[in-house]
Symmetry: C2
Subunit: 256 residues, 2 copies
């Protein structure tokens, strides 16, 4: 099949550091290429893929050091390009959460599928979904659907990952066992709960996480006062090739 994948432009595919959605898009794209499909990836120009890459923007938004960027305009330009080439594909798979593509593809919704990788309980999503044709949707969990229960759900496909990239280290070389928190220090991800769980368990906690611009106030107010550099240690945002070791050596992963 001729398949297009349309990734968000926030991070490259795969991401250099943080970036859950872009990582999953990468796994999926590579697997489809390996299965013999003709895959085109719309993503930031600094992405790496064995599919055909159509750059939606020179480089990914978040790590682009230029101060004045427009997330909305960047995605609109990419979507205009996807629209122009739509006839080249049997299926167009959108990995965008906030329906920015709906107005471009309203006349061919049936040839698309949308996997929103984020939460769907935002008050504006359900009324907006109803404004457009019933775009076919794939959920990443059953519970994710609750916020958009009446959508045209085709399937739930949990995030998969290559089976050999992470392996636990059953014998640790660490002086002291630690719990791991990996991801983003945002209100949604509940690092405050992870810290409380670690405190009560008596184990040390290492937080390896991004602090987004949107999260900085929350970090300042809630998380930073709880970090002591010893029992609760913030080790920064880590790269892809550091994750296997960080997770492998941990006594446990907290994802509260």
């Amino acid at each position: 099949m001729r398949i297009a994948h349309v990734a968000p432009l926030y991070e490259s595919v795969p991401p250099k550091l943080y970036g859950g959605t872009e990582r999953i898009v990468s796994y999926l794209t590579e697997a489809l290429v390996a299965l013999g499909h003709e895959v085109t990836l719309f993503a930031s120009g600094d992405s790496r893929t064995s599919a055909r890459l159509v750059p939606g923007r020179e480089c990914a938004l978040r790590l682009d050091p230029r101060p004045k960027k427009s997330e909305i305009a960047a995605h609109l330009a990419m979507l205009a390009e996807v629209r122009e080439r739509a006839h080249e594909f049997d299926l167009i798979h959108f990995h965008l959460s906030h329906f920015l593509h709906f107005s471009f593809f309203a006349d061919m919704a049936g040839r698309t599928v949308t996997t929103p990788h984020g939460r769907l309980d935002y008050v504006d999503l359900a009324p907006t979904y109803r404004r457009f044709p019933r775009f076919p949707m794939v959920s990443i969990s059953r519970s994710q659907r609750a916020g958009l229960a009446e959508a045209n759900w085709l399937a739930t496909i949990h995030h998969g990952l290559p089976i050999d990239i992470y392996r636990p280290a059953f014998e640790t070389t660490e002086e002291e066992p630690y719990l791991a928190f990996l991801g983003r220090l945002s209100r949604d991800k509940r690092p405050d709960r992870a810290i409380e769980i670690a405190r009560r368990s008596g184990l040390k906690l290492k937080l390896a996480a991004k602090i987004g611009d949107d999260d900085r106030a929350y970090f300042h107010d809630v998380v930073e006062p709880l970090i002591d550099g010893d029992r609760v240690d913030y080790v920064g945002e880590i790269a892809e090739d550091e994750k296997a070791e960080f997770l492998g050596k941990a006594a446990g992963l907290l994802f509260p």
Copy 2:
């Protein structure tokens, strides 16, 4: 003429507190109604206007206390409604900065006009503008055009305001004269410069301004340490009916 004005959904029209764009849309809408035009305003449902109001969302985004809102989805729902009613209008005037409406109105760009009320030197705007038909644009200053020089500019129309709403108080009842800073404590608005100017002039400075979620880290890092509650005083975000007094009594307005 049958004119539609499409306002952003961040603040009501007019805004309750901060909100430059929504304030100007209100002035313009009321003036067009007074001139006898048939005006429809697409804006948040808590707006007040003598035009016909079509609510794009129950209430404006920023002061909506619910935590999970989608700015993008909210605007998409409103734009879908404008598109559905497009045949009712001779002219549709968009007051949106990041081209979210372009994909909806590509087939009738000539019947629209767009006034972006923000800066246009974001790296993503010019390449995105070129992806769509040459939408007719109105600038709010000559210098604003620089970032999008090749756009289809029709005119520059400076922000106007009703002539009788602000008047200076030539005799002040204040103990000590003060300089005024009004607006938003963001990097773009340069409150740091205002503070430096006040310091060098020896005059007291009062900052009446919004601190947006995006601005909180900047406020924390740069502005807050300079506020002493005396020579440099943050008086919070003030309401429409407090502005005339705040500005009228000031020795001068700093807008650096």
